[in-house]
Symmetry: C2
Subunit: 451 residues, 2 copies
């Protein structure tokens, strides 16, 4: 049946109903412009803000979207689709317009971070993958941002999460999302290469265990990696491990080799870090850094900070890359307008604000976020405009920012969070209001519906 | 810098420290046989059993593992690795042996589902991707199995989870893991094609909203898809939607077209399903099936079953594909033996059972699981042997079972669960004990360690 492309490059990476609906749209000549928006309906209980991420991958997807002859043949073989659809898919390219918040932007519930304006069949087809891409990176960036804010600014975070991220793409995109919010580096080699993220690593317990003696393992590792020597010290007994590092470090010093750090991966990390720091300092090795790992999240980091644990780097992983306390966002990609008419959904508990939107952000005198206003797209309100054009007629309208630029911008964004939103506890309110014009439109659309 | 392969095919899909350790192993001539095992340390609070999944992808990975010239060049460019390592990577193939539990096997904490016996550098390198693959599919299969058990056996489950699965690979592998445990079909087209899973779909709210009238939307969809007509009825008012389906179904009947089903995606699903069933039956449309969706998991399904909700198909998605209540398993891939010597880790809270293992399963008179015995690999105990050879010298030793075979086998496995393990509440105990020979070995290894 021909070669199957990597999932993430395939136009078949969509839900069946998108194709079924496209089939109907083409046959019904329903090809006028549709406006869809991606937003998160409600923040998780444990989030005061979200960080937009994943736009670059969405734009790549839209620019490269096409069905191969082989994929069309497979679709034909299912017997589910009209010849009309198959013909249209053969020539399909995305030719729409996209507006978005820049990656790294802080946002809140009900605020669109992406608006797609395209012919209805095109805008419909791309729903599944747009959700899949924006949801995951936004999820991880939002979780990792809390970790970044919980840690002292002079302490690094490192992404160790590949092994329990949900698959290969998640592992790589998680590294990217982590980096955007200020995580310093990743252990995932493929992500480092693909996105140009600094790559780091220490050593595993297996290296220690494959030796008969821990000391011998340390010495062997030092011989092979004298320039980047971080030793894992908790395989048998953390404090004894630290003593052994001291002995080795003394020996190595005579040869001009320095131990860069030690990693502690188990036990009471605060107590162990204090003890290890004491052992290292007593021997005059104040420069040896302490890395800690093991199910870290923002709460564990906050607890270590409160305990004044002498930690230099927090190695985060699983809990960030699966966003353990909120592994999914209640996000949607919803039809806001078709053929110039505002549309809304009235399903119980899932009502939406009709029409295309703009978000205006107002700051207080200190440059902190005062409030956002969710408005109709054609209103002109005071404040910073958050959604701007990034694609027109299916092509990017400007060069993507580099990952370093996105990261700098995100740091500025996080700096605009008022204290109550930076806090790990739930803030009393979300700083978003709906403009009166949008409220009026919603009433109008709702009362018009007897559909 | 050359073409970057799709993440999931790249040998760079690993953690940096695997390469760093390999570098040391080669230079230290530490290439004797290592035995690593994959197991889950503790079951999540909300799981009484797990279902092994992902083996086929692991074997594909091992058989195809190789570094391209381009990848080697990139590694060289980082300046982190010895010429020795780079040369060895150039010719690297996985040439080890693998034992595993068949996919679909029920298992418990501390039981290995995979054992790798290979030269230390090879066995080390593959850790990250093996964890990444086995963890995710096992996670999803274990969650989906609870949903399958909570639903009446005559009711279908369907996977709708692509949009909030964590990336493209997760979306496709989730469909596979769902199918293994008895989910009937998927909406994810790429997964359907790749794994040969039945594909299904209904329609989205946007289709309804793009029309001025719900009735018109229903009629249009019926014209385009007369053979597979499932209508979404909750966009405005579910019961009015059901009435409109009745009117349309009467019209269509005169033309020989039947409405196959309706989908309800919001509100009190039990109450709505009862009301909709009443409306349909009153009009003589007993054959129209009811699909429900919207944040379903095993608890929601159990509640619908308890309410005797007249549901024909549960459309699961987000909560299953991210395993929302337990989005990661505490799994590990640990060195059990090197150069013939059993190895263990003594880190606080993370102690492991040393040496290679076998798992023996004993059944009661009714064919239900009585207990498992975690034993040393060379013990011969009564009971069914769960780990068998699947790869030798880097090649599969037999043809993979088909997905249909795995699914049938998994159904048999789930049928061997005693009532307390099938239940959604936490069972009082896990049916696993450690053999006395393994306990003796653990004591021996532990007391020998002053390492």
């Amino acid at each position: 049946m021909g070669e199957i492309r990597c999932e993430h490059d395939s136009a078949l990476l969509t839900d069946l109903y998108q194709l079924t609906m496209m089939d109907a749209y083409y046959r019904l000549n329903m090809e006028q412009t549709a406006v869809f928006e991606f937003f998160v309906r409600r923040l998780p209980q444990t989030r005061n803000f979200l960080v937009a991420a994943g736009l670059e991958q969405v734009l790549d997807y839209l620019e490269n979207l096409r069905f191969t002859a082989d994929e069309i043949d497979w679709l034909a073989s299912t017997g589910r689709f009209s010849a009309t659809l198959l013909e249209r898919l053969r020539e399909l390219r995305f030719t729409g317009r996209v507006l978005a918040m820049p990656e790294g932007t802080v946002f809140f519930a009900n605020e669109p971070i992406l608006r797609v304006e395209a012919s209805l069949p095109q805008a419909q087809l791309v729903e599944s993958r747009i959700l899949n891409l924006l949801h995951y990176q936004t999820l991880v960036a939002s979780k990792a941002a809390r970790c970044r804010l919980a840690a002292s600014s002079d302490r690094q975070l490192i992404d160790f999460g590949m092994r329990r991220a949900h698959g290969a793409e998640a592992a790589c995109l998680a590294s990217r999302a982590n980096y955007i919010v200020g995580v310093a580096s990743t252990a995932t080699v493929a992500a480092a290469r693909r996105y140009g993220i600094p790559v780091v690593g220490t050593m595993a317990h297996s290296f220690i265990q494959a030796h008969d003696l821990e000391t011998e393992a340390f010495r062997h590792f030092a011989e092979c990696h004298p320039n980047n020597l971080v030793l894992l010290i908790d395989t048998y007994d953390t404090r004894r491990g630290a003593q052994r590092v001291v002995e080795l470090a003394r020996e190595l010093r005579t040869r001009g080799v320095r131990v860069r750090g030690v990693r502690i991966d188990s036990g009471d990390l605060a107590a162990e870090a204090h003890a290890v720091r004491g052992i290292l300092n007593a021997a005059g090795f104040e420069e040896i850094r302490i890395f800690v790992s093991g199910n870290l999240d923002e709460h564990a980091i906050e607890a270590l900070e409160r305990a004044a644990a002498p930690v230099d780097a927090y190695c985060v992983g699983t809990r960030v890359d699966v966003s353990a306390d909120a592994p999914a966002l209640d996000c949607a990609y919803k039809l806001q307008e078709y053929a110039g008419v505002p549309r809304a959904k009235h399903s119980s508990g899932k009502e939406t604000w009709p029409g295309p939107h703009q978000v205006y952000r107002e700051y207080d005198a200190n440059g902190l976020i005062a409030q956002d206003v969710l408005a109709r797209a054609n209103e002109a309100l005071p404040g910073r405009v958050l959604l701007t054009e990034v694609m027109n007629e299916g092509r990017r309208t400007s060069k993507d920012p580099t990952l370093a630029e996105i990261r700098d911008y995100c740091a500025q964004e996080l700096a605009t969070l008022p204290a109550e939103l930076r806090a790990l506890e739930k803030a009393p309110r979300e700083p978003m209001r709906v403009s009166s014009a949008l409220q009026a439109l919603a009433e109008e659309v709702k009362s018009a519906v007897s559909k």
